[in-house]
């Protein structure tokens, strides 16, 4: 597959919040919302092939320092992923899965969000809302015990110019090991103007569990200076079958779900 170089001038400001870290001893700037193209800043974690585990003992000083906790980790406020924490109890609508996959909460993940544990040969998708502009997507996938990350992350969707638009997310070269899981970041961008709600489709092609976290898709107004470099592929037959099976399940669920949560059994809600 040919990957073309692109030079983009981002016209929109990267959304960020000025986190008030006063009183916190940690150097981790957790409050800053990272753009999809920006790796997380996780003080003390080894990156790019580093091997230091987050659980390693500290030589001196206090046993631990305070850092900020955020409900959505480093997910940017304008993340177009409908279920950025990959919560598995939401099984209809914005998230559909098969098999025995489950949401896992770890002390450390690259984006400080829960992870989806995708069982062997399972696949799952989350919906991604389309917005005008260049779509940039990223996700972290990880495996235990130094196994090779062998997952596939695709944006499947409908575009004005073609059916079943596909963007494959490719390794960015960033890796980090946390709590025994080696995480690898995948990313991709496209100028295809997607329509409606599309899919971030994740497939685990291995016999070992695959962990997925930090799905991020943002749309930015962009001026293309160079050549567009969207790594596009055609969906393979096996992948298509899996994706369609998931979609059929989702569609069937939607067709059965024209009934609001019962007024009469409402538990206390905000």
């Amino acid at each position: 597959m040919r990957r073309l170089s692109i030079v983009l001038i981002m016209m929109a400001a990267v959304a960020c919040s000025s986190a008030d870290t006063q009183g916190l001893d940690g150097d981790r700037d957790a409050g800053v919302a990272h753009d999809a193209g920006t790796p997380p800043r996780d003080g003390g974690e080894a990156r790019d092939g580093g091997e230091r585990d987050a659980g390693a003992p500290v030589d001196a000083g206090p046993a631990r320092t305070l850092v900020e906790f955020s409900l959505l980790g480093d997910s940017p406020p304008d993340n177009l992923v409908m279920n950025p924490n990959l919560t598995s109890l939401s099984t209809v609508g914005p998230f559909t899965q098969v098999g025995s996959s489950a949401t896992r909460h770890f002390a450390h993940t690259p984006t400080r969000q829960p992870a989806l544990e995708l069982a062997a040969n399972d696949s799952a998708f989350v919906f991604v809302q389309a917005e005008p502009g260049m779509t940039t997507a990223s996700v972290w996938m990880g495996v235990r015990d130094g196994d090779r990350v062998d997952g596939t992350a695709l944006i499947l969707g409908l575009a004005q110019s073609q059916l079943d638009a596909v963007l494959q997310l490719l390794p960015s070269g960033e890796t980090v090991t946390m709590d025994g899981i080696t995480w690898q970041r995948f990313e991709g961008s496209t100028m295809l103007q997607l329509i409606g709600a599309n899919l971030l489709f994740i497939e685990n092609s291995t016999r070992a569990p695959l962990f997925v976290t930090g799905p991020t898709v943002v749309a930015r107004q962009a001026q293309i200076v160079g050549e567009l470099g969207a790594p596009k592929i055609r969906l393979g037959a096996a992948q298509r079958l899996k994706a369609e099976a998931l979609l059929a399940k989702h569609r069937e669920a939607l067709m059965q779900d024209m009934k609001p949560v019962s007024r009469r059994l409402l538990p206390r809600s905000p």
């Binding site: 206090p62 320092t65 305070l66 409900l71 406020p77 990959l86 909460h105 024209m258």
Partner: protein, 722 residues
């Protein structure tokens, strides 16, 4: 290192440290937590648990006895307090801790509860329950938490440590409501246990979470005055942070629930509620309202809880998405209806007002002893019902087309008034002709007096009795109290009218079989009584629609997600092409023939169809919408208000921050097309199907046992009969 300990501090003098609370909690110098509260527990070992007032370990099935011993893990180096931490794992699902012993010292205090957790695959969900009894009566009753009068949940404080510990807190709240109703039990459960209990999802093995550094601290005197009140006067009586709960002021945190006490986390949570609607809601009505909605939410963000909750709930309601439900933070069973009040034409009262009228009573309930069918609710707490309902907006929810609000919430007024300690005033005209003011009898129901025994620890036996209010005055066909799959029909052979009664468009096999029966041998006139139309499926809609359409007639529903840019001809064509080529996703858009291609075995396109509406939502929006526009026989809709206008499927939202349910809304909206040449771009959600004839139950008919709506529908059919 802090020594392991579990202390129940029973003297007020021991709480003096609270003058300088910064001394306790996380210590930057050591990187550890120091405990010093009214109740502290390092949760280090079995001794630590045994020193608690009383506790019970839970399995992952909350309804089953659990006998395993607790597991403690870690060391002084890797626990955040003491020597170890309590482990919730694949076997131990949680722990219940009684708080009874704290009442002597904390009964009139404001407190805060905190703990830390370290996730190893899962996270905890925690709550404190306010119940009128304590001891083993609570600990041994699996249903006790769900029957609680109130609860306070734990939220993240926004503080964590670089090795993964996360702090949770309730924020400040009053220890007691009134009398015997006070904080009785603290529950910490594995998030997977919750999934198992409420969604039937078995816990996925291989995960655990460490719980450590539990403490309850005194943060001052209670804020809500312990005085009698009613809802209409609660703002003046109960203070900024209080509400009226069953006739006595209580901290709104107990009665209505808490939000994160940390300003940053609270803002993050509330902003997320807004932004997910801005980005993902399919309703174009929401799209048009979202800036106003966001401004309201922002203005309420830092207001006291009573005001914040009222604004939060009403602002969501006014987005008019009938599928929208705000996240569930607690599962508490509230009071149900003890009498069904429907907004009616009170034509026997002076000035014949439109007002809630008693249409049904629950036998054996004390309210039923006082009221009679035909009684009209004329005031609550001495003010007009509409004015009272505005003050009670935190208790009254209706998220459909807002033109129907007062009609739909009418059955909820009575339980809301009892909860608010309010007094309801009914007017009775016991004669078939209009009464003068002097001829009216007045009946007053004191909600606070009804439930007074609750505060002595003796909850009234009728508490959980409730009836199903289905907006029908009479039943054309006898049926179970509540059955969403119910389909019944009855014929009037002399007048060639069939009355079909449904409670929704379930579409499951049992429902479809009954519909098939109901649609066999249909006469010229049909009354479709869907006054309790709770929605269902597209298949259900198709089954009831298809027989009344002509052979070449098949309206189309374009069910579309949010589009940016908005729907235009090119996008419409793209979606159509995608679907025609067999695309499964097509941008999550669906173009559906409303018959779903089905053919009615016994078509009756020329039938005269009278639809009788009440509470109709979702599938029961689609059905009258399509029937009203059919090309064959006439259709006429009788009802008081428009349907909900929820034109689209429901999408459940993901959970964040340990919500028990993430809420729901539509990520779709619908454009109806007469056929494929139709280029309409009118999105329908938020705008219900209006009645052709506004009809409410008449008081005079009620006294005579006549169902006004069915009578009017029958008359219309007969008007058109040859």
């Amino acid at each position: 290192m802090i020594a392991k300990r579990t202390l129940l501090v029973a003297t007020v003098s021991s709480l003096t440290w609270l003058a300088s609370p910064a001394l306790a909690g996380f210590q930057p110098g050591s990187g550890r937590v120091e405990l010093e509260g009214a109740l502290v527990s390092g949760l280090d070992d079995a001794d630590a648990l045994d020193a608690l007032p009383d506790f019970k370990l839970l399995g992952h099935n909350l309804n089953e006895a659990f006998g395993r011993a607790p597991t403690f893990v870690g060391s002084a180096a890797d626990s955040i307090e003491g020597d170890a931490a309590l482990l919730l794992d694949d076997d131990v699902g949680g722990i219940d801790i009684l708080l009874d012993g704290l009442a002597p010292t904390l009964g009139d205090r404001r407190i805060e509860a905190r703990f830390w957790y370290l996730p190893e695959g899962t996270v905890p969900v925690a709550e404190i329950y306010f119940i009128e009894v304590g001891g083993r009566a609570v600990l041994d009753n699996p249903q006790a938490p769900f029957a609680a009068v109130g609860s306070v949940r734990f939220w993240p404080t926004g503080r964590a440590t670089d090795d993964g510990w996360v702090e949770m807190s309730t924020g400040p709240f009053d220890f007691s409501a009134h009398g015997a109703v006070r904080a009785r039990m603290l529950r910490i459960v594995d998030d997977r246990t919750f999934g198992n209990a409420f969604f039937g999802i078995p816990p996925t093995p291989g995960a655990s979470v460490r719980i450590d550094a539990l403490e309850i601290v005194d943060v001052g005197a209670r804020t809500a005055p312990d005085v009698a009140c009613n809802l209409a006067g609660e703002a003046a009586t109960c203070g900024a942070e209080g509400v009226c709960l069953f006739g006595f002021c209580a901290d709104a945190a107990i009665a209505e629930g808490t939000l994160p006490s940390d300003a940053r986390i609270r803002a993050e949570y509330l902003d997320y509620q807004v932004q997910r609607l801005r980005r993902f809601a399919g309703s174009r009505y929401i799209g048009a309202q979202i800036d106003t909605f966001e401004a309201r939410m922002n203005a309420a963000k830092d207001r006291p809880l009573p005001e914040l909750w009222a604004t939060f709930r009403r602002a969501h309601d006014e987005l008019a998405d009938g599928h929208l439900s705000t996240p569930f933070l607690s599962f508490l069973q509230g009071l149900g209806a003890s009498a069904c009040l429907y907004e009616s034409d009170a034509d026997l009262l002076p000035a014949a007002p439109v007002a809630p009228m008693v249409s049904r009573l629950l036998p054996g309930h004390p309210v039923s002893e006082m009221l009679a069918v035909g009684d009209v609710l004329v005031a609550i707490d001495g003010i007009a019902v509409d004015d009272w309902a505005e003050r009670a907006e935190r208790l009254l929810r209706y998220g459909g087309d807002q033109r129907g609000r007062s009609f739909i919430i009418a059955p909820d007024l009575l339980p809301a008034a009892i909860r608010g300690g309010s007094t309801l005033t009914f007017a009775r005209c016991a004669q078939p002709t209009p009464c003068t003011t002097e001829e009216l009898q007045t009946i007053e129901i004191d909600g606070a007096a009804l439930v007074a025994d609750l505060f002595t620890g003796a909850r009234p036996a009728w508490w959980f009795q409730q009836m199903n209010c289905d907006y029908r005055f009479t039943e054309a066909v006898p049926r179970p109290p509540r059955d969403d799959d119910f389909v019944g029909h009855v014929d009037d052979p002399e007048e060639a009218i069939r009355t079909i009664v449904i409670n929704g468009v379930s579409g499951d096999n049992r429902w479809m079989n009954r519909v098939r029966d109901a649609l066999t041998g249909v006469p010229e006139g049909v009354i479709l009584d869907e006054r309790f139309g709770g929605g269902g499926t597209f298949e259900g809609v198709a089954a009831l629609l298809a027989p009344f359409l002509r052979a070449n007639e098949d309206p189309i529903a374009m069910v579309l997600p949010r589009l940016a840019p908005e729907l235009d001809d090119a996008t419409r064509q793209q979606i159509m092409n995608c679907q025609n080529l067999g695309g499964q996703s097509c941008g999550n858009a669906f173009v559906l023939p409303m018959t779903l291609g089905g053919v009615a075995p016994t078509p009756r396109p020329e039938a005269r169809v009278a639809i009788v509406n009440g509470l109709d939502v979702s599938g029961n929006d689609f059905l009258p919408y399509a029937l009203k526009r059919r090309a064959g026989g006439q259709t006429r809709i009788f009802g008081a208000v428009p349907t909900y206008g929820a034109f689209g499927p429901l999408s459940r939202m993901p959970r964040v921050a340990g919500e028990l349910f993430g809420g729901s809304f539509q990520v779709h909206d619908t454009v109806f097309l007469a056929d494929l040449t139709d280029t309409s771009t009118t999105f329908e959600t938020g705008f219900g199907v209006e009645p052709d004839e506004v009809v409410r139950q008449k008081q005079s008919d009620a006294l005579a046992g006549v169902d006004t709506l069915l009578a009017r529908a029958r008359a219309w059919i007969l008007e058109g009969a040859d």
